[in-house]
Symmetry: C2
Subunit: 142 residues, 2 copies
């Protein structure tokens, strides 16, 4: 991953700074979703100070390099995840919980798109609904 990022920086004549690499490592350590604040706090708690502006800009680069993906589930903070295989997100519109789910065959859809001249990079499926917990809570209230 680090290699890929360094290659990317070189190809764009951007600089390999300790901040950028540290942010990448931090992203890789985070399982699941993370956001700017989480990264900021983790780094800060290690005594490694990086400004949020730098985190924002590094995440932009990491996204362009195809290493992370930006996820927008709500109007508030953008979330990020390490770009791996396509997977779906189940989003509970009641409590906001987000669960990842693998649905077989989804990637196949992308192949069909080549036809219209669109070159797909990755597919994000969000399924909005109500999670088990919230459904049970509602039932017990009635």
């Amino acid at each position: 991953m680090e290699k890929k990022f360094i290659e990317f920086l070189k190809s764009r004549r951007l600089k390999k700074t300790p901040e950028r690499l540290e942010i990448l490592h931090c992203c890789l350590e985070c399982k699941g979703h993370f956001d700017v604040d989480i990264l900021y706090n983790i780094l800060d708690s290690r005594g490694y100070h990086v400004s949020k502006a730098t985190i924002y800009s590094s995440l932009d680069l990491l996204a362009e390099a195809g290493i992370v993906r930006k996820l927008l589930f709500d109007t508030h903070q953008a979330k990020y995840e390490i770009a791996g295989t396509s997977h779906s997100h189940l989003i509970c519109t009641q409590c906001g919980e987000i669960v990842e789910l693998n649905i077989e065959g989804l990637d196949l859809i992308m192949d069909k798109l080549q036809l219209c001249g669109f070159i797909p990079n990755y597919l994000s499926t969000c399924i909005y609904g109500r999670c088990k917990n919230c459904t049970e809570k509602m039932r017990s209230l009635q």
Copy 2:
């Protein structure tokens, strides 16, 4: 649609105000995607003044009623669309263009989810990549 919204308001003991109905009509007239500013400007150009706070709150209600859907493609303004059948969005990460596309069989995925206790409401598929135009532009530059 208006009937559905009025039913929803009644069921929640909310009030049927001219602003809410006017905003609903405005959404229905908009083909494709719209946002708070677009609605505000359309209404304003007709001499119908509605505050943005009211538009925000009405859109929330319309979303809860299942009449519109909130779409977040980027960090900036939220977009909305009339909730119809599930369709996919092709998003060009270079120029930002968004094209709607129908992919057969996608809705079937939702049925499978009942298993894990998640009650799906609707599915949103976003396929990120590069559109025909941008691909051609890149080629001619090389």
